[in-house]
């Protein structure tokens, strides 16, 4: 009896057997995937002819989703590592303002202003992480402090220097700058012009741009979002460092005992979150040509919401970048889609709240059902 059993089980008895279907189902992306399909089905049914799926409409919700994605990737990795960053929104306002002050007010070349701002943001991110690690305080509190500190500087600096809270003229000084084009430019413009000429997408009906396509290229914002999602996904699932992120968020003490440099991982993730916020801000400043003291308000919550819809656990140790990206897509499509569907403006936030709650409950339910966790 025992002899036959032994000869049959060639695999390691410590590894539990699992069917391929079940393995596919317990992925953290599943909830996000189901949600995405549901949301698109809903809007295809109720808002199909509202312009939401015209080229202009698609570009609109894609851009908004891409914005969410950029900050969601950072927030997702940080959350998996077991920490929060509530200073993301203020960081967006602060870094945008720094770029504007350095380039417009102080007259630095735009590429230098961007690089210095990125360096500054990453240092602030590291400081966030360092304080959290050294004091052992919850990151919730530490980054909440930075939410106020950074927002305060964002209002104080331009008011002191220029006596106003909006600094404009970035577009003019960024003209022809190589690094600025990397954030504010568009790609595939030739392809879109061709599509416009071939009648595949709508063109402007009047004015100086008559005949040009209404969508004239893919903004770099979307390219950045895709790059960051791919980078984050590979980092998390294909590298040793990715395992360290999971371990740090799952049980920091156990991870430390088995040799994972938990402090370094967490501080690096804070720096990466700050980097993502800075990418967001730079794209925004380059696109609109001005920086305002009120930019980025409440964006930290939007990032966290996207990540949670995407299936990550608020307690850390579980989640996926692809899921967060899908969460950002759902959030963007729902937010803009409700406008298209003609929902009364004051009720819009009610529907948004209900849909978010529904998505998260569904997510948790599916996960529990399949993994059997309590």
């Amino acid at each position: 009896m025992s002899q036959t059993a032994q000869s049959q089980t060639v695999s390691d008895e410590r590894v539990k057997e699992m069917s391929a279907l079940r393995r596919a189902l317990i992925r953290p992306e599943l909830g996000g995937l189901v949600g995405t399909v549901a949301v698109f089905t809903f809007f295809l049914l109720f808002a199909f002819d509202s312009g939401m799926f015209s080229s202009q409409g698609v570009m609109n919700w894609s851009t908004v989703s891409a914005q969410f994605m950029i900050i969601a990737v950072g927030a997702c990795l940080l959350m998996i590592a077991g920490e929060f960053d509530l200073s993301v929104g203020s960081m967006i306002g602060f870094s945008g303002m720094m770029i504007a002050i350095l380039s417009v007010t102080l007259g630095w070349p735009v590429w230098l202003a961007i690089i210095v701002t990125f360096a500054m943001c990453i240092v602030i991110g590291a400081l966030n992480g360092y304080i959290v690690i050294r004091t052992g305080l919850p990151s919730f509190i530490v980054t909440l402090a930075f939410l106020f500190i950074l927002r305060g500087f964002t209002i104080y600096l331009p008011q002191t220097i220029e006596r106003k809270t909006i600094i404009s003229g970035v577009r003019d000084v960024a003209e022809g700058d190589w690094l600025a084009a990397l954030f504010g430019g568009k790609i595939l413009t030739g392809f879109f012009t061709w599509m416009g000429q071939a009648g595949l997408i709508e063109t402007f009906e009047r004015g100086t741009r008559e005949g040009q396509p209404v969508v004239d290229g893919i903004p770099m914002l979307i390219v950045w979002a895709i790059i960051l999602v791919i980078f984050g996904h590979i980092l998390l699932t294909r590298t040793r460092f990715g395992n360290w992120i999971f371990a740090s968020g799952g049980d920091a003490e156990a991870a430390r005992n088995s040799g994972v440099p938990v402090s370094r991982v967490k501080i690096l993730m804070f720096m990466f979150t700050a980097f993502c916020a800075c990418v967001f801000a730079t794209c925004q400043v380059m696109e609109f040509g001005s920086a305002g003291a009120d930019r980025g308000l409440l964006k930290e919550f939007e990032a966290i919401i996207a990540v949670v819809i995407g299936g990550a656990l608020l307690t850390g140790g579980y989640g996926s970048v692809i899921g967060a990206a899908l969460g950002a897509l759902i959030f963007g499509v729902v937010q803009q889609g409700l406008f298209f569907a003609g929902v009364e403006s004051s009720l819009f936030r009610v529907f948004l709240g209900i849909i978010l709650l529904f998505a998260v409950i569904l997510n948790t339910y599916i996960r529990r059902l399949i993994t059997g966790e309590r």
Binding site: F46, M52, G57, F204, E205, R209, E210, L347
Partner: protein, 316 residues
């Protein structure tokens, strides 16, 4: 079991109905979208919402109100883009930040959507983005009208209490007032800051140093309220000629008691109501006023207070 299912379906239909209904309603009347820059917390815009609701009802058109929840102008630009993509007959929007909103508004105009600029912005900027017209209160003109009114009432010199020196458009009110009076602005404009105690002390100090000043202009409740206190303290209340921009509780009380001669209302109701009416008639009959429309200055004096108090926050 079956009745439960029916109940569920009816329930679901009722729940979804308010979301779906407007989509079908677009088939009838024209559809307009008003995009503002105000955050949810700004109650001043309630008057605007009531204005478009009334206009929509009277004209038989559908008007939607959209705003960035936090007042983020970059989010507002996305809303303008979205509004354009939903192909309405027209968009009514503010020009809160010309740099940010210029692009999306020009794209909307180019894709065949008519635009009217309301509230914030200037007639020049409205023309540059290709809007049909501007409906609002040009600050200089409002100051000029106020200055001419004060001149008719016998004012010869004045103090302008400016609590928002960093906003050039607000400062134009003082310049207009000076030109209306026919005097040099010179040192008459006081940078008061925004702290109530400081404003009060600076106003009293100025009036001490310049005892022949016979008129005061304040630029809003922020500077008007402490100025009232200053005048009550130095005994000039009711004696000196006092006019102010915008309305507020203290200002209304001041007008009632005779401390303030008039308050200038920019009449937000008109900024919301008129664009809807104008655009609807433009789209139905092709008629369009040949000029920009000044929604203000509307002078509120003691005689008209009853109406103001009655409709405050609703239509005023």
């Amino acid at each position: 079991m079956k009745s439960n299912l029916t109940k569920f379906l009816v329930g679901a239909a009722i729940a979804v109905a308010p979301m779906v209904a407007p989509t079908f309603a677009t088939a009838e009347g024209e559809r307009y979208v008003l995009v503002s820059h105000a955050p949810d917390s700004d109650s001043w815009w309630n008057t605007i919402k009531n204005g478009i609701a009334l206009a929509g009802e009277q004209m038989g058109v559908e008007v939607e109100y959209r705003n960035p929840p936090t007042g983020d102008i970059a989010d507002m630009a996305r809303i303008v883009e979205q509004a354009a993509a939903s192909a309405p007959n027209g968009i009514i929007t503010t020009l809160a930040d010309y740099d940010v909103l210029k692009g999306p508004i020009m794209d909307a105009v180019a894709s065949g959507v008519d635009v009217i600029i309301m509230n914030t912005g200037t007639p020049e900027q409205a023309r540059e983005v290709g809007a049909l017209m501007y409906v609002g209160q040009p600050e200089y003109d409002a100051g000029l009208a106020a200055g001419m009114r004060a001149k008719d009432d016998g004012v010869t010199s004045f103090l302008c209490v400016n609590h928002a020196i960093q906003q050039p458009t607000v400062g134009e009110r003082c310049q207009g007032f000076a030109d209306g009076l026919g005097v040099e602005l010179g040192e008459s404009m006081l940078d008061s800051g925004t702290d109530p105690a400081e404003i009060k002390n600076r106003v009293m100090a100025y009036l001490n140093a310049n005892p022949d000043t016979d008129g005061i202009l304040t630029l809003g409740p922020v500077s008007a309220d402490p100025t009232i206190l200053a005048l009550e303290e130095n005994g000039m209340a009711g004696d000196i000629y006092f006019g102010t921009f915008d309305l507020g509780d203290e200002i209304v009380k001041g007008i009632k008691s005779g401390v303030i001669q008039w308050g200038i209302d920019q009449q937000p109701f008109l900024q919301a109501y008129l664009p809807v009416v104008i655009m609807t008639n433009y789209h139905r009959y092709g008629v369009l006023p040949g000029n920009n429309i000044n929604s203000g200055p509307g002078f509120v004096t003691a005689d008209a207070l009853e109406m103001v108090e009655k409709f405050a926050g609703e239509y005023r």
